[in-house]
């Protein structure tokens, strides 16, 4: 047990003694802040009639289809920001292969399962930390913009706080998925390409395509992005898609994410982590 706790402390030190974490946190804050502020202003403008729907060329019925705006805007933290903890987890793991730091790591802690477990725990916590950064942007900037348009930002609403808590959980699980991907695909460049291609292109397309038929929509609910949105409880993607099938319950979404993380980590452990370090 002490060896596990020491490993966790060492993994934290690994993340915080390089620059990657704060660069990702900074970009995440700016990106989510811009989106939540910009789209928050657009949606709030349309909903309150300040911006005419015709001028932004959306369908006539769209203005009312947003539902409650604050959760939608706040959920940008995870529905868009989730790629950041995945990247951090994947880079933290593939970096060990790339810089051959597995050698000193395994010399200090020869139990490799302990090291991988410690890395996962550490990145779940830091992923949740990125969740706080993302929420600071989406609730802080998005909420301010909504209030400026006279929309109630629901800052004291228990649903808002529940959404925030689930966002932290989702971001932590995404970081664990990143670690799993990192051991599954130890090549750092390949890993980054997979993260970006899948999250920014493949999955959004799959989600859209699957939404047209009821049967495929049910399967589509198990895509990691859909599961994450189900866990958080709101997403701009859920609004954009012609939803015919109810999303998973929040806890089901969480279990699906956990499942992805576990499967990737266990297979990766056998495929690369346990192998010869030469």
């Amino acid at each position: 047990m002490t060896s596990f706790l020491r490993s966790v402390a060492a993994e934290f030190a690994k993340v915080f003694t390089t620059r990657l974490w704060w660069i990702l946190a900074l970009v995440l804050f700016c990106y989510i802040g811009l989106l939540a502020g910009g789209l928050g202003a657009l949606f709030a403008g349309i909903q309150t009639g300040v911006i005419s729907p015709d001028t932004v060329n959306t369908g006539g019925g769209a203005a009312t289809a947003f539902g409650s705006l604050p959760p939608l805007v706040y959920s940008f933290a995870s529905s868009v920001g989730y790629v950041f903890p995945v990247l951090l987890g994947a880079l933290a793991t593939t970096g060990e292969f790339r810089h051959q730091t597995l050698t000193p790591t395994f010399l200090a802690t020869p139990r490799r399962g302990v090291v991988l477990g410690a890395k996962t725990v550490t990145l779940v916590v830091i992923g949740a930390g990125l969740g706080i950064v993302a929420l600071a942007a989406s609730v802080g900037i998005g909420g301010a913009v909504l209030s400026a348009f006279g929309v109630d930002a629901l800052l004291l609403d228990s649903q808002t706080w529940l959404l925030a808590a689930r966002t932290l959980l989702a971001m932590g699980l995404w970081a664990a998925i990143g670690v799993g991907l990192g051991v599954l695909v130890p090549n750092q460049v390949a890993s980054i390409v997979i993260v970006l291609a899948f999250t920014q292109f493949v999955e959004p397309l799959l989600r859209l395509a699957s939404s047209f038929l009821e049967i495929t929509a049910k399967i589509g609910n198990f895509l990691p992005g859909s599961a994450s949105d189900a866990l958080v409880g709101a997403s701009v993607f859920a609004v954009a898609n012609a939803a015919t099938v109810a999303p998973l319950d929040w806890w089901q979404g969480g279990l699906v994410l956990l499942g992805y993380a576990l499967v990737a980590t266990v297979i990766g452990y056998a495929a690369s982590w346990k192998k010869d370090v030469t």
Partner: protein, 300 residues
């Protein structure tokens, strides 16, 4: 002062796909001595050391420290310090934070970090990013990592690579001191001359197999002894040697007599009334016997 454990390789074999990198290797390394682990490129030195440290799984056989496998040591860094040839650093970390990470993992006090950096002469560069280090500085940082837990056993893979002359002299003294304190010191090299001033024992491998082991002096006796002798009257000298039944060949600087007994040659010349201009024992190069042992390996 930590005392060393006996390192024991027992029938270690390792295959990478079809290649037998190490084949049935058995030897022991004693505490209080510096043992040179020698062999040409690709002989299997790094592979053997990584097996010993649990980084590579042996196909068969066991390698232990005082009977315990590396992975079963309670806190390995405080028993065994290892520096392997590959530079294993994140370039964005400073030397201090690099060592700090592993000090945390092994529960070693943080004060050791600056102590070992000072010990290897890197104190002034502790706060510098490792990405900007020279090869020799990286080599020293690797050594600092090995010393972190003040271990009784040191396993160093080609620690002299990349060091400047001052660094080489320093590490030779350092290895001697470590052994004098009772630690076990195992140092690999592909050049005997690089380590011959500091090693007590040698273990020589070629093509993954043990070819020689013993004290350094055991390499000396393996080669044929020769003595160079010359005279202004070379023909008279040659006649005297022939009369005494000593075979010789004619070399650039005189006659190469097939004996190590210089006194006998001097006596023969004296009794034959031949004046000598040269008489000295040809030190058979250790490097020569080393090359003879690992011979043919350059055709990998």
């Amino acid at each position: 002062m930590p005392t060393g454990a006996v390192i024991e390789f027992t029938n270690i074999s390792k295959r990478f796909g079809g290649i037998a990198a190490v084949n049935d290797l058995s030897f022991t390394v004693e505490p209080g001595r510096v043992t040179g682990f020698l062999g040409p490129n690709g002989a299997g030195k790094t592979t053997s050391l990584r097996i010993l440290l649990g980084l590579v799984g042996a196909t068969s056989g066991t390698a232990t420290f005082g009977g315990v496998r590396y992975r079963d040591l309670p806190n390995p860094l405080t028993t065994v310090g290892a520096a392997l040839e590959a530079a294993s650093f994140h370039p964005g970390r400073t030397a201090r934070s690099h060592l700090g990470v592993y000090a945390i993992a092994a529960g070693i006090p943080r004060t050791r970090v600056l102590a070992v950096l000072a010990q290897v002469g890197l104190a002034a560069h502790a706060a510098q990013r490792v990405g900007g280090y020279s090869l020799g500085m990286r080599q020293r940082l690797g050594l600092a990592y090995a010393l972190l837990g003040n271990p009784g056993v040191l396993v160093l893979d080609e620690p002299i690579n990349g060091l400047d002359p001052e660094g080489i002299r320093w590490i030779r003294g350092f290895l001697r001191d470590m052994a004098a304190e009772g630690r076990t010191v195992l140092v690999s090299s592909h050049l005997l001359s690089e380590v011959q001033q500091s090693v007590d024992d040698v273990v020589i491998i070629a093509r993954g197999e043990l070819v020689h082991r013993g004290p350094l002096s055991s390499l000396d006796t393996d080669a044929a002894p020769q003595t160079i002798v010359d005279s202004p009257d070379r023909d008279a000298l040659a006649a005297a040697l022939t009369a005494a039944g000593i075979t010789f060949s004619i070399g650039r600087t005189g006659l190469l007599a097939a004996t190590s007994d210089a006194a006998l040659l001097g006596h023969l010349a004296f009794t034959a009334g031949v004046e000598l201009s040269v008489l000295h024992r040809q030190k058979s190069g250790l490097e020569d016997s080393f090359l003879a042992l690992v011979g043919g390996s350059h055709t990998l």
